[in-house]
């Protein structure tokens, strides 16, 4: 056994006392210890340290702390549940509103076409709507869609800001 190998084993002795060696390292150490009294003694010096570390008294949190933690964590859980419910309701409401908006486009198209044909009877409703009112109802559709998009962006920005404020609190 060379000196460097002896030193290498010596470096492993603290870890051996901590049961932190791989099986290959354990074998290597065991083999070396059979022939090296100095390392055996060194390992015996590490053992009481490791043993006492395992037996250090465990500090215990007070029951007040545990109860207070539980109460705060439960309040947080309840708050999260409420937040989730509100989010779900919001999604349903927004989806319903979008549905109504989209449904209003053909209704507007139809009503506007009928109204135009009453004003100028020489045009059939279909001709009139195609030539003039198609532009009007498309504008209406674009306007409502843009309105919703702007509302969505504002809602997202507000949510991000609120989240930031909650973190600061």
């Amino acid at each position: 056994m060379t000196m460097s190998e002896h030193d290498k084993i010596r470096d492993l002795l603290a870890l051996a006392a901590a049961d932190a060696l791989t099986s290959a390292e354990e074998k290597q150490v065991a083999e070396h210890l059979r022939s090296c009294i100095a390392c055996s003694n060194e390992l015996e010096t590490w053992r009481p340290i490791a043993s006492e570390l395992r037996r250090l008294p465990t500090p215990q949190p007070s029951s007040w702390l545990v109860q207070a933690t539980l109460a705060r964590a439960q309040a947080k859980l309840a708050e999260q549940a409420e937040h989730d419910w509100n989010r779900r309701v919001m999604i349903v409401v927004v989806a319903f509103a979008w549905l109504l908006t989209i449904a209003s486009w053909p209704v507007f198209h139809f009503v506007a076409g009928r109204f135009a044909s009453l004003l100028e009877p020489q045009f059939s409703p279909t001709q009139f709507s195609y030539m003039q009112f198609s532009c009007t109802w498309t504008s209406f559709a674009a306007f409502t869609a843009l309105g919703w998009l702007a509302g969505g962006v504002a809602a997202v920005m507000l949510a991000v800001r609120q989240r930031g404020e909650r973190r600061l609190v």
């Binding site: 340290i49 250090l56 008294p57 465990t58 500090p59």
Partner: protein, 196 residues
């Protein structure tokens, strides 16, 4: 790895699961935090913050993973942020800060004799534990951490690596250095004692 039923229930928002998890981990978590920050008041605050963070993040936790490692990683991050804010030197410290008297948090239950046969054996063992506890408290934070995770929490090296986000080789060398430092500290504090 078996999926922890309480963790799964907590993910569904079950309040009882939360109280069972707190009851199960309270001693280990509090001890770990106390070893990290050394001040009971700070450890108590971090203990509360850790569980609030658990509630906040539990949905992003993969229930098939190791909950212990995840929980200790959360508390570690909070403790390190706290130390960085309050005592920036703590992370790089080579010399420990003065000890808080109740650092090792001994309780009445700890004074009940266990394996020590006679009152004298018990007194000697208690003295040795006090010595080692005080010497350990004087070590830098990363050494206290690895010692408590390995010896008190009995975590495997792989688990410690997960908690500390460090490679296995780093954890092993940190563990070796921490034991060496502890031994030097004991020999320096108690020359001619039983630690040599």
């Amino acid at each position: 790895m078996a999926v922890d039923a309480d963790v799964v229930r907590l993910r569904r928002g079950d309040l009882n699961a939360l109280s069972e998890l707190i009851a199960r981990y309270q001693n280990r978590l509090y001890r770990y935090l106390l070893r990290m920050v050394r001040q009971p008041a700070e450890a108590e605050d971090l203990f509360q913050q850790t569980w609030l963070r658990v509630v906040e993040k539990i949905r992003s936790f993969d229930a098939s993973r190791n909950f212990d490692a995840w929980l200790f990683t959360l508390s570690r991050n909070l403790a390190i942020d706290h130390l960085r804010r309050t005592r920036p030197q703590s992370l790089d410290e080579m010399l420990g800060e003065p000890l808080a008297n109740s650092w090792h948090g001994e309780t009445v239950a700890d004074r009940i004799p266990c394996k020590d046969d006679t009152p004298l054996d018990h007194a000697l063992a208690a003295e040795r534990r006090t010595e080692i506890g005080e010497a350990m408290a004087g070590l830098p934070m990363i050494y206290r951490e690895v010692l408590t995770l390995r010896f008190e929490d009995e975590m495997k090296i792989e688990e410690i690596a997960q908690v500390t986000a460090a490679p296995l080789s780093t954890v092993k060398s940190r563990l070796r250095r921490s034991l060496e430092q502890l031994r030097y500290a004991l020999e320096a504090r108690y020359p001619g004692g039983t630690w040599q």
